[in-house]
């Protein structure tokens, strides 16, 4: 009888934990969709960007030789504002960016997301995004990418 009770408790805890993880994954998807895809890529909407991208965020890329370059969110936001002023944003039609979530792995307050990045219908990049869960929610803190 005791073993059965223990098994039921374990199953319940496991189910609750799975539900929590699924819920957190949905929150992370929303954060990336709102802040990165809509805010940064498609609209140049600073409020949306700030809702899900930490001020210390950097996009990291490979430079010449063995160097890496960094693109801070501060610079990226400035570029987005400039594009908005020039009429290059918001994007529309086949220039619009969409993403497909390939995997999200969460451990406590840290997470890693892998996404496919489409420009129009063309798969253009694979992104790996690291996130932390702050007091005010999940925020992207770093991103690397591979151009296809």
């Amino acid at each position: 009888m005791k073993k059965l009770k223990l098994l039921i408790v374990l199953l319940t805890v496991s189910q609750l934990s799975c539900q929590n993880i699924d819920k957190e994954k949905e929150v992370i998807k929303n954060v990336i969709q709102t802040a990165y895809v809509e805010g940064l890529q498609n609209e140049g909407n600073i409020q949306k960007i700030d809702s899900g991208i930490h001020p210390d965020f950097n996009l990291l890329g490979m430079g010449k030789g063995n160097s890496i370059w960094k693109y801070s969110i501060k610079d990226w936001k400035a570029k987005a504002i400039q594009k908005k002023d020039n009429g290059e944003l918001p994007l529309s039609g086949n220039k619009k960016v969409t993403v497909d979530f390939k995997s999200i792995d969460i451990t406590g307050t840290a997470a890693m997301a892998k996404i496919e990045f489409y420009i129009g219908s063309k798969l253009t990049y694979i992104d790996y995004i690291s996130l932390y869960k702050f007091n005010n929610g999940w925020k992207m803190v770093n991103k690397i990418f591979y151009k296809l």
Partner: protein, 155 residues
């Protein structure tokens, strides 16, 4: 006959791709083991560190009390110099850090790695590492982590 040739070609391509990915995963594991575990954490050996950690790599730490803190590898190397002088490095056998690789995902020259981090045999952190492949060498460019005590999802 044509179908058979196409099928064989597909099998060969699949086999070569799988083998390449296995090789890349081995290279990534080796880079993290030598540069991070041995070089940075257990020994304070800058030569080993440079083999698998990019000089511009940053380790980002977050907790609600201190917020987000970023450590450069240069800062870490300088601290290791002090640790070596004061005798806290290299770590004693029973204090040594070991890791287990939980997941490696590679796309071209970019990769992410999830590790379990043990201090003296006790699981203390889960780490997520971002890496790029420079020429022929995989190097860590960023890491975030979570203290094991805080973990709800013990997967």
């Amino acid at each position: 006959m044509k179908k058979l040739v196409a099928f064989i070609l597909l099998l060969v391509t699949f086999s070569v791709t799988a083998q390449t990915i296995r090789q890349e995963k081995r290279a990534i594991k080796k880079a993290i083991q030598i540069a991070y575990v041995e070089g940075l954490i257990n020994e304070g050996n800058n030569t080993k560190i440079n083999l698998g950690i990019h000089p511009d790599c940053k380790i980002m730490a977050y907790d609600s009390a201190y917020g987000l803190r970023t450590y450069t590898i240069k800062e870490w190397e300088n601290n290791n110099y002090i640790r070596k002088r004061t005798g806290t490095l290299p770590k004693k056998e029973q204090e040594k850090v070991t890791i287990k690789f939980k997941h490696i995902d590679i796309t071209g020259i970019a990769a992410t790695v999830k590790i379990k981090y043990y201090e003296g045999g006790e699981l203390t952190y889960i780490g997520y590492i971002l890496m790029y492949k420079f020429d022929n060498d995989w190097k860590m460019v960023s890491k975030i982590f979570n203290k094991y005590l805080m973990i709800e999802n013990k997967n």
